[in-house]
């Protein structure tokens, strides 16, 4: 173990985490808003209020939408009201249309209505706000909905998992990009490789593994094949760079075009969707403590990458090559092989990213991954990796990826318009890197 870190050192290494925490706090504050409770607890509140408002023999309509928890709400309200002697005329779980039908039935039967016990969402339907004018013969029923509570949308666990799931592809591809950038290179082909991999995996499953009835083995084979092809493309780039000394920018720019073109050719410009439902396991399943599988994979990969960079000889070599390739070569580092490894790894991880995206969207399309290379590079750079090579951290990249995801998600939650989002994202990337420079005291250099 290294010596315990001093706070200043810690801040210097992981200052971006602080930025991320600040961003989270900011978005929590601005998305602090009313939430609509449902389920058992909300049901208890509503029953109590109905009995208080109409103590004896209330004639009640119970309404819930079809959100998760709403069926429980409706069942519980109906049961408890009946137990307390109230009359439940109907219990509706569904759409506004179902509520209207129930109201029409009650009106047709000539009955009156004392109260409507509804979830907040259902209570907001127009069918109830216009109740007095549309159904005058029902009397003037009380609308009773559970009390709302306030909590940031941003901090809801479903949103936090949402963010992690949304960034999984970019964050995973960014591992490979970090390796490449640490060696002083760049890989522009990753976006196209995401598309190529998604198309290859989906195409293999459709054409070779039996389409919608493909077996698990067939799907795994298709995914592995796609990832390996992308690894081979990365290897090809690496060879061009190491054997012919073509600048990485040029080589990977060419491979970006080749990869994208191949994806369009293979998919014939269409999205490939004839794949089994179970294919979404990787992208949308959540088997371990409710964590999405893609996020688990992400964490495992980052742990491995961290070990590689900080505990293994290869990691040291990567830094050495990026710091000064000539010095590294003279001290016996196999520079070419190290570089080749970085590009192969980047290709493989881009392939994996493509497979995850295909799984999330249950289809493969050549339009996937468009501009992703730029987001991935942004994540790496925001994470504190220097584009001139030789320095950078995996945890930094992970923080960078999450910073970008949090900004995008936060702006979607706070109703920021698309054009403005681009401007803000660009400025934040710039700001983060500036802050990083400032923190390292290199401003004036």
């Amino acid at each position: 173990m290294p010596e315990p870190m001093k706070p200043a050192r810690w801040l210097a290494d992981y200052g971006m985490i602080l930025v991320l925490v600040l961003l989270c706090a900011f978005f929590s504050a601005v998305t602090y808003s009313e939430q609509s409770p449902t389920g058992e607890a909300a049901a208890g509140q509503v029953v109590e209020a109905v009995l208080k408002a109409v103590p004896n023999g209330a004639r009640v309509l119970v309404v819930a939408s079809d959100q998760p928890g709403d069926a429980v709400f409706a069942a519980r309200v109906e049961r408890d009201l009946k137990a307390a002697g109230a009359q439940v005329l109907a219990s509706v779980t569904g759409e506004p249309r179902n509520a209207r039908e129930a109201l029409q039935k009650i009106q047709a039967a000539g009955g009156s209505l004392n109260a409507v016990a509804a979830t907040r969402v259902a209570g907001g339907w127009r069918v109830f706000t216009d109740l007095a004018s549309d159904f005058p013969s029902l009397g003037s029923p009380r609308m009773i909905t559970p009390a709302s509570y306030r909590w940031p949308h941003f901090l809801k666990s479903e949103n936090l998992l949402n963010i992690a799931n949304q960034i999984a592809v970019i964050a995973i591809v960014a591992i490979g990009m970090t390796l490449v950038i640490i060696t002083g290179g760049i890989d522009l082909s990753v976006g196209s490789l995401i598309a190529l991999s998604a198309v290859l995996a989906a195409g293999f499953i459709r054409d070779r593994a039996g389409g919608v009835s493909a077996s698990t083995g067939g799907m795994v084979l298709g995914c592995l094949l796609a990832i390996l092809v992308c690894g081979a493309v990365g290897g090809f780039s690496g060879l061009m760079i190491t054997r012919f000394a073509i600048p990485p920018f040029i080589v990977t720019l060419a491979m970006m075009l080749v990869g994208s073109g191949l994806a369009y050719i293979l998919a014939q410009g269409q999205s490939i969707y004839q794949i089994p439902d179970s294919f979404v396991w990787l992208g949308r399943g959540a088997d371990l403590f409710g964590l999405p599988n893609a996020v688990v994979l992400l964490l495992v990969l980052y742990a491995l990458a961290q070990v590689l960079m900080s505990r293994m000889k290869l990691g040291r070599y990567l830094y050495a090559v990026g710091g000064n390739a000539e010095a590294a070569r003279l001290s016996g580092v196999p520079v070419r092989r190290v570089l080749l490894f970085a590009y192969v790894a980047s290709g493989l991880l881009a392939g994996l990213g493509g497979v995850i995206m295909a799984s999330q969207l249950k289809s493969g399309s050549p339009t996937y991954g468009n501009m992703y290379e730029l987001y991935v590079i942004a994540a790496v750079v925001v994470g504190g990796t220097s584009l001139s090579g030789g320095e950078g951290r995996m945890l930094g990249t992970l923080t960078g990826a999450f910073t970008i995801a949090v900004i995008q998600n936060g702006m979607n939650l706070t109703n920021v318009e698309s054009y403005t989002q681009k401007v803000v994202l660009g400025l934040v990337i710039l700001g983060a890197v500036l802050l990083d420079k400032l923190r390292q005291g290199r401003w004036a250099r």
Binding site: V46, Q67, P68, D70, N98, Q360, M371, N415
Partner: protein
């Protein structure tokens, strides 16, 4: 480190403190129009195209009249991005989601998520007629009817002589397939009955954009120097084609466009495009908010609502006060 953790806990506790009031409000069923009814989340194919921008703006304006707040985002033709936007709408628990899918196949799982969260989903312009998804209604231009209008305009433009024409297509979009289908139907009917044959000699990909429309028209002119007409599936492609005609000094070739965007209308007024079947994106927005309201009131809506196009010629453009 401990200090830092404590500070974080304190922040969290402060946030938690704000919630947990246990009262139940029971409002009277009085009609209340002024208060905010909820949010409409709109994710459109792109906002680069004025057509979608107008749809978004008109949903926002019309929604405001009925007490809805509207968020309009652009999917930028990237279905993964659009998927994330929809997921964020679901987390926000918006009252309704309106989208024009970037890819009607790949968006299925995301729509299913919205369905499971009990949020009604509406589509505008681009449909998603896939099994397993629940769409309240689809609002779009009657593209096939518009294509037929374009066909009639072409016959009218070429007159007695007939001749060779090119179609600048955008095959990825179902709407454009319908336009060309309607167009070809009319042209075929004309050829079957009439003497002046109209010959569709080439069908090129225009990308529904100016630059690619330009290239496609250039290539069409190289292959068929005696071309007399071009049908472009939207205004950008038509304007790109016009630029190619001007470059080749072949402005006698007549163009029929589609859309009726301001730039296209201006080109019609200037005689650069012969005519456009025009769409009404503003009406689409108004109809969309109406559909959301009607759904919320419990009405059953038809699966599809088509808005007819209208043929817009130079004479219409001269009367149009929005042009100069």
């Amino acid at each position: 480190m401990k200090y830092f953790q404590r500070a974080l806990m304190a922040c969290l506790l402060a946030l938690l403190g704000g919630c947990g009031d246990k009262a139940v409000d029971s409002s009277q069923p009085a009609a209340s129009a002024s208060k905010v009814q909820g949010t409409i989340g709109v994710s459109l194919l792109t906002l680069d195209n004025p057509f979608f921008k107008v749809i978004g703006d008109s949903i926002t304006a019309e929604g405001k009249k009925h007490g809805y707040e509207t968020v309009v985002v652009s999917g930028d033709k990237d279905v993964a991005k659009q998927g994330n936007q929809i997921k964020d709408f679901i987390v926000k628990k918006v009252s309704a989601i309106v989208l024009s899918p970037c890819d009607s196949k790949s968006i299925i799982p995301v729509i299913q998520e919205a369905n499971a969260a009990g949020i009604p989903v509406f589509t505008v312009d681009i449909p998603c007629n896939e099994p397993g998804v629940k769409i309240v209604t689809q609002i779009a231009t009657d593209n096939e009817g518009g294509g037929r209008e374009a066909g009639q305009a072409m016959i009218e433009a070429l007159g007695e002589a007939g001749g060779k024409i090119a179609v600048l297509h955008f095959k990825q979009a179902e709407s454009c397939q319908l336009r060309v289908k309607g167009f070809m139907e009319v042209i075929r009917a004309h050829n079957a009955g009439g003497k002046s044959k109209i010959d569709v000699v080439t069908e090129l990909e225009s990308g529904a954009a100016k630059d690619l429309g330009y290239k496609a028209a250039e290539d069409a002119l190289q292959a068929h120097p005696d071309l007399r007409g071009i049908f472009a599936i939207n205004d950008p492609a038509a304007l790109g084609a016009r630029a190619a005609l001007e470059k080749a000094s072949k402005t006698q070739v007549l163009i029929i466009g589609f859309d009726g965007q301001p730039e296209g209308k201006q080109a019609i007024k200037d005689g650069k495009i012969y005519a456009d079947p025009i769409q009404f994106p503003d009406q689409m927005g108004v109809r969309m908010v109406d559909a959301i309201l009607r759904h919320s009131k419990g009405e059953t809506l038809p699966a599809q609502m088509l808005i007819p196009t209208r043929l817009y010629r130079k004479s219409d453009a001269q009367k149009d006060p929005t042009l100069h």
